[in-house]
């Protein structure tokens, strides 16, 4: 039986460097599919996708809100061909009710230990409309290595350089941040994977560079330290969301290969300045993530924040506009205040104002967002700054003997497509 698993494409943000990373959700889900099922994976962002009936069952895995309209289009097309279509993934969970009309089945929750029943039901012609495992989390020990062999690896190279692989060491999050839906998706309980299972998975990844996609590793100091200690011998280099900035944690993280971390910069305080400095003191780069549009922010605050970013020596900065994703407090607040004016999910890409900000017009917020990108990267472009960060990881790899040169056979291609020089 052939299961075609599709990852819908989405429109990338204008003016930003596009990197197509090997998706994580589909490979984690695929690991839970019974082994006798043949999985054909199509990532529409890099791969040609011909909608045809050369499969038995279709799965659509959606991570982003900006993917869902395309996901629905794909589902509708396959259903017209008479194929059964099941949807899963975190944005399916955020938009489940709207997805139902485009689906034979919707899977809500985490897949481990649950997909045998789904495929069994499919074979018997008894596929359920909804598989609701929203709060029925699998034992975290049961989360094994993702099934990355379904990826067409050569499509995730740019000029011969392999993109980072995505990897997770925990699920759930004890924090409940204003714009974030993770509490709804994965629960408020932090669920760290056992270290030996993490190491087992890391050993299967044929890539020295990783993106640890956990929402925050800074949730359990002892586990965090144990994780980094166990990672040291593997000599991987990785970026991640926040880690604790205690000296003993940073020291272990640096030894374990921390390359750079994403750090939210929400004000111009010494706290942020010192935190960035502490990361740098341990040789860990910092990419600032800056959110514009909270009700506290005036135009003046945004401009001051941009000036501050230039003072604190961030290696990179990524700007986003507050986006009210369903199942967040942000959504609840803005819906209550009738401030959301755009409900086209294609625009929920964190680069467009879809709501009325408190202290300015949406158009002005959009201008300030663009001003932030232009100002931060005025003297040194995003590509130049990325290259500096890239050079830093190469130096470390050369020092510990893990450096792999680029693949010359893919040097003329970018994500599977031939590079055309004008």
């Amino acid at each position: 039986m052939k299961f075609r698993l599709i990852y819908p494409k989405w429109k990338k943000l204008e003016g930003q460097t596009t990197f197509n990373l090997p998706p994580h959700g589909p490979v984690v889900m695929a690991a839970a599919i019974p082994p006798e099922i043949t999985v054909e994976f199509i990532d529409e962002n890099v791969d040609a996708h011909e909608i045809n009936d050369n499969c038995d069952f279709v799965g659509i895995s959606m991570m982003l809100t900006t993917q869902i309209k395309r996901g629905w289009e794909i589902g509708d097309a396959y259903r017209k061909l008479g194929k059964k279509v099941i949807y899963g993934g975190i944005s399916t969970m955020l938009h489940a009710e709207e997805t139902l009309p485009h689906a034979d089945s919707v899977f809500l929750g985490e897949a481990e230990g649950k997909l045998e029943k789904v495929f069994d039901d499919f074979k018997k012609g008894k596929l359920q409309n909804i598989y609701n495992y929203m709060t029925d989390f699998p034992p975290i020990e049961s989360v094994g290595p993702a099934r990355r062999e379904i990826l067409k690896r050569e499509l995730y190279y740019h000029k011969g350089v392999q993109m980072v692989d995505l990897f997770h060491a925990s699920r759930g999050c004890r924090f409940k941040c204003y714009p974030c839906a993770v509490a709804y998706l994965g629960g408020r309980q932090f669920r760290p994977r056992p270290i030996d299972r993490v190491v087992e998975e890391l050993a299967t990844i044929d890539n020295n560079r990783l993106f640890v996609v956990d929402n925050s590793l800074a949730q359990d100091t002892q586990w965090e330290k144990d994780l980094f200690k166990a990672m040291i011998p593997m000599k991987k280099k990785w970026c991640c969301h926040p880690i604790e900035d205690k000296p003993e944690v940073l020291d272990l993280a640096a030894q374990a290969g921390a390359w750079f971390v994403y750090q939210a910069v929400f004000d111009t305080s010494d706290y942020i300045k010192e935190r960035v400095k502490r990361y740098h003191d341990y040789g860990i780069g910092v990419e600032g993530t800056i959110l514009f549009g909270l009700d506290d922010q005036t135009e003046d605050d945004i401009k001051k924040l941009i000036d501050f970013l230039l003072e604190i020596n961030l290696d990179l900065a990524e700007f986003t506009i507050l986006t009210p994703f369903p199942h967040t407090k942000c959504w609840d607040d803005l819906i209550k205040q009738d401030r959301i004016f755009d409900k086209d999910w294609n625009n929920y890409n964190a680069g467009k104002a879809v709501y009325k900000p408190k202290h300015m017009t949406p158009e002005r917020l959009q201008e300030l967002y663009q001003y932030a990108w232009d100002t931060f990267y005025k003297d040194e472009s995003q590509t130049q700054k990325m290259f500096k960060l890239f050079r830093s990881v190469i130096s470390r790899e050369l020092a510990d003997g893990t450096y792999r040169g680029r693949r010359e056979d893919l040097a003329g291609k970018s994500f599977g497509k031939k590079i055309v020089h004008n």
Binding site: N132, T135, Y178, R188, D296, I335, K336
Partner: protein, 126 residues
């Protein structure tokens, strides 16, 4: 569901409900009878609510509580409350919103929220 009138002088408890997709959910519940009016204030419990927010389940929750306290759409005053989170972010300040709905086919739909001050809420319940 057993229907009860609101006992005197008022109800003040943590209320458990089944939210979206049947998820166990919790909110604070204050209910008070003022003449024919049944005033219900549901509080979002950020840290202890494992499930759906009161805003996300507003119409269903209002319908459930209306039935529980044996009142009718005309006499229900339904208020959503978010407590002060002692945050420096304004979005975590205390808020009260009175919610009005369309009553159709025996169900509330189409919630609309109107911000109330604490004083306005006090006036309603005293």
């Amino acid at each position: 569901m057993v229907s009860d009138k609101i006992p005197s002088p008022y109800i003040d408890e943590v209320y458990e409900f089944q939210g979206l997709w049947g998820i166990r959910s919790l909110c604070g519940l204050k209910a008070i009878q003022r003449g024919a009016k049944c005033i219900i204030i549901v509080t979002e419990l950020y840290d202890t609510n494992p499930g759906t927010t009161v805003t996300n389940w507003s119409a269903q929750l209002a319908g459930e509580l209306m039935q529980k306290y044996n009142t009718n759409p005309e006499n229900l005053i339904f208020i959503e409350h978010t407590p002060d989170r002692k945050s420096k972010l304004e979005v975590y300040d205390e808020t009260f919103d009175r919610v009005s709905y369309t009553w159709k086919d025996g169900k509330f739909t189409d919630p609309k929220w109107q911000r109330l001050s604490k004083q306005e809420v006090d006036k309603l319940i005293t």
